[in-house]
């Protein structure tokens, strides 16, 4: 009798969860398509070079923290110096690197220590010195040397030294399109009904691409096995997921690798949280909370669907697992810190939709998936399973996942068409299926490990170790 009621209860729970899961993703699909088309109508034929001639535009600081990046740092800064915008500065924050990053930058860019004044508006570790180049070609460059404190701390140091209206938080190893700032600034000056407090952009995988002088000259599909899956993952997350949330103004995350923020408002909320590894997600959630609680004005977090930032993704299994572990810990930490927002109508769409989504389908999903498998095994053992229903639901799930990813791949071809060739076409379609069998189960394992580390090993902060191969050699190997 107990087993009957127990299985009945679990059945209902799983059916409700899976049912809502499909409905939520289906609705997201519709919203993302709508947002994508809205964006096409709005920006597709716009010539962004026009913004370069504008006189009333916000100034921008590009803040790029660096830790032990000596292999790529000079190339990366050269790439940033290629950016086009009328009023911007580049602030590189050396977060107490143990290698020769700082020495390399000083030597290459002719830097000299200066007495630049700054206020400690947001907390950060002591700054040892600020450097500026005496070569006029690099007059936009500022380098901060500080004691080690983590990525969030380094970004806070950059915010303190910055004197511009907006700041672009960036991973120093990213390759940025030369018109990235103009595209990101547009929503800030384009809105008439609400205030834009931050803007996120699409990140793409740079592995195997050919790069010269800090610019991508040829886009290639990655050659590394794990990187291939991440192309699909990034396409799906940015083209469908974030676009959908952007459509209902419910975006809760702007990638830490690439996001533009209103400096004054970030200072008002206290800058980046140094105690978490998910500082990007946490900051956006805090900004949203602040806008709802304090300023109480109509606001927006914008999202640009154009691929503006290219990053090297983990190509080895170990680095990938560490990265995903860190992402999971960051998400849990943010959810727990801001649990007050969960199903709280005071926070509008965020409280009622975005935040519950993160809890239910980002944090709890790996648990439900694992529980489902264990439960299936128990039912098979007890002989209490209807094979037809089970197989049909499995087929339905697979077909739905393939459809969802195929739409993301289609939109890439329809809008930007960055990856070309018949080889890519066959590879990506094969990988969509392989991803379901290999990559997604691994994602569940990484997420469970992240939960374990967060709750039992109390591992919450620190720089993620990512071994860089350096862009200058890529694509030609």
């Amino acid at each position: 009798m107990f087993i009957y009621y127990f299985t009945y209860f679990i059945d209902i729970l799983l059916i409700v969860y899976i049912g809502t899961f499909f409905i939520v993703y289906f609705i997201m699909l519709i919203f993302s398509i709508k947002e994508l088309f809205d964006n096409i109508l709005k920006n597709r034929y716009f010539d962004y070079n026009r913004i370069l001639s504008f006189s009333k535009i916000p100034s921008v600081s590009v803040i790029a923290p660096a830790y032990n990046e000596e292999v790529t740092i000079v190339e990366n800064i050269k790439c940033l110096l290629n950016l086009q915008y009328p009023d911007f500065e580049i602030i590189i924050v050396n977060d107490g690197s143990k290698d020769n990053s700082l020495e390399k930058i000083i030597k290459y860019f002719d830097l000299i220590k200066i007495d630049r004044a700054y206020e400690l508006e947001v907390p950060c570790a002591p700054i040892r010195g600020i450097y500026k180049s005496f070569n006029p070609a690099y007059n936009r460059l500022l380098v901060i040397d500080k004691e080690n404190g983590g990525k969030a701390d380094a970004l806070n140091a950059g915010i303190n030294v910055s004197r511009k209206d907006l700041f672009l938080a960036l991973d120093v190893d990213c390759i940025i399109e030369h018109d990235a700032i103009t595209k990101m600034v547009k929503p800030f000056i384009d809105e008439t009904d609400s205030i834009v407090v931050a803007c996120g952009g699409v990140i793409r995988v740079a592995n195997s691409c050919e790069i010269e002088d800090g610019r991508i000259v040829k886009i290639n599909f990655p050659k590394q096995f794990w990187a291939k899956f991440q192309v699909i993952e990034y396409l799906r997350a940015f083209t469908l997921g974030r676009m959908a949330w952007s459509n209902i103004n419910g975006l809760l995350i702007i990638s830490g690798a690439f996001g533009l923020f209103d400096r004054q408002r970030v200072v008002k909320v206290g800058g980046y949280d140094k105690s978490t590894v998910g500082e990007d997600l946490e900051l956006v959630v805090r900004l949203r909370k602040y806008m709802y609680e304090v300023e109480k004005i109509k606001h927006k977090i914008a999202f640009i669907p154009d691929p503006l930032c290219w990053t090297e993704v983990p190509s080895s299994f170990n680095i990938l697992s560490r990265q995903r572990n860190r992402w999971t810990r960051g998400a849990i930490d943010t959810i727990i810190k801001h649990k007050k927002m969960f199903f709280n109508p005071r926070y509008g769409v965020i409280g009622m939709l975005s935040f519950p989504y993160w809890v239910m389908y980002e944090w709890l999903a790996p648990f439900v998936q694992s529980l489902g498998l264990i439960y299936l095994a128990i039912l098979v053992y007890l002989g209490r399973i209807n094979i037809e229903i089970c197989v049909m639901i499995l087929i339905f799930s697979i077909i739905f996942s393939v459809l969802y990813t195929s739409i993301a791949v289609f939109f890439e071809a329809f809008t930007y068409n960055k990856y070309k060739g018949i080889k890519y076409f066959f590879q990506i379609n094969l990988l969509i299926i392989l991803e379901l069998i290999i990559y997604q189960p691994l994602g569940v394992i990484f997420a469970l490990a992240g939960n374990y580390n967060f709750f039992f090993r109390k591992k919450k902060s620190g720089w993620g170790n990512m071994t860089r191969t350096g862009f200058s050699n890529q694509g030609k190997q």
């Binding site: 809205d38 007495d115 037809e388 195929s406 068409n417």
Partner: protein, 400 residues
């Protein structure tokens, strides 16, 4: 006819989408519930006791599978057609650039030869695609050239007589067509489309059309068209203000109408234009905006008044509103104070700012003070306030 085809092309995608949605939501009532066994009927006839929703799942599996096949096909199609179209277009553009340049860069030819050339071009440019390429090429070359060549391109454009094509492009439902038409109208100064352009300025979704239409109207006739836009009370953003500022002719600007508008966007535009064109006579008219509820209006007012300040009353007004001003406003006030006739008062004001305001403003005030009284700056260098000392160090660092 041309326009009907364009509208058909435009709506067909929507009709297909609508049909798919109808199929998606209502199809299964007919397909699944009526003939229960949609998939593998023999297999399911062997079973019994399966719930009804099971057949709904089957229906969606079938539908999603078909959708995947279609999407994969379209992915391949779009990927290749896009690459092909880009290549074809760029090849055709190159060809037309050569033809047009050959016509306008050679020595002046006789009228007869010129019209023969036009005839040949027209004969070879019959398809819609080629016509739009030729229009694009003439527009680009006209935009990028000057002097005699520009004049000849203008003559060529007029001789080609593209009125019909431009009308089709302008009234086409596709944004890219409208955009090209707007570019051409503004570049070649073509009149007669003003009413439709005014309609386009109300576009909220297709913002590109909204500001391109405004830009075109302003280029055609700054004064009258700006008056019409003000009258229509079109919503304008900072972005639009920039577009208007870059295209407005400085002659005959309706300043009074701009600042008397009840639309903050136009007031801001008016304030910037008054400042840019140094129209000091409006100083008294704009003072009221210093207490406006809109932050940007207040900021532009302060910037303008700071620029125009010349007597003690002006400076006192600015000093009075200093603490309520934005950072940019404060910087402008500090800069203007250098011109204040009363030396003691200006030093007193700047010293107060240095002692009490944020570091960024301190730096500005110190810089201003340096140009008035260097000994005062040296005094501040020994201040107990670490922020002031830091600001002085930065100011005196020769490497910055």
């Amino acid at each position: 006819m041309r326009r009907i085809i364009l509208y058909f092309k435009y709506t067909i995608f929507r009709i297909l989408t609508l049909a798919s949605i109808v199929l998606f939501f209502f199809g299964f009532f007919k397909l699944v519930i009526k003939n229960k066994y949609l998939l593998l009927p023999d297999f399911f006839q062997l079973r019994f006791g399966l719930p009804d929703w099971f057949y709904v799942v089957q229906y969606y599996i079938l539908l999603f599978t078909l959708a995947i096949i279609m999407i994969v096909f379209f992915t391949l199609y779009y990927s290749y057609s896009k690459t092909y179209k880009i290549k074809k277009r760029s090849r055709r553009i190159d060809v037309y650039i050569d033809i047009v340049l050959a016509m306008v860069c050679t020595e002046e030819v006789s009228e007869r030869k010129f019209f023969n050339n036009i005839k040949t071009i027209k004969k070879n440019t019959r398809s819609e695609f080629n016509k739009s390429i030729l229009i694009t090429v003439t527009y680009i070359l006209h935009y990028k050239t000057m002097g005699e060549i520009k004049r000849r391109i203008n003559k060529l454009f007029n001789s080609l007589n593209f009125d019909k094509e431009i009308k089709t492009l302008l009234y086409s439902p596709f944004t890219k067509h409208k955009k090209l038409a707007l570019y051409v109208i503004s570049e070649f100064n073509l009149h007669g489309y003003e009413d439709y352009l005014l309609k386009l300025t109300k576009q909220e979704k297709r913002k590109l059309l909204h500001f391109e239409a405004m830009k075109t109207l302003i280029k055609l006739d700054s004064h009258n068209n700006l008056l019409k836009i003000i009258e229509m009370n079109v919503k304008i953003s900072t972005f639009d203000i920039n577009i208007l500022l870059n295209n407005i002719s400085n002659k005959e600007i309706p300043y009074k109408e701009l600042i008397e508008s009840n639309n903050n966007g136009f007031i801001i535009l008016g304030l910037i234009l008054i400042r840019r064109n140094n129209r000091v006579e409006f100083k008294k008219d704009i003072e009221k905006f210093i207490i406006n509820t809109n932050l940007m209006v207040r900021e532009e007012t302060v910037l303008t008044l700071a620029e125009f300040a010349d007597d003690i009353n002006d400076f006192e007004l600015l000093i009075y509103f200093f603490s309520e001003s934005s950072e940019n406003g404060k910087k402008a006030i500090v800069n203007s104070i250098i011109r204040m006739p009363d030396n003691d008062k200006r030093i007193e004001f700047l010293s107060g700012v240095i002692e009490n305001d944020s570091l960024r403003i301190k730096l500005f005030a110190l810089d201003a003070l340096l140009s008035i009284d260097i000994s005062k700056v040296i005094e501040f260098q020994k201040s107990d306030n670490i922020q002031i000392r830091k600001a002085c160090d930065e100011l005196l660092d020769i490497n910055i």
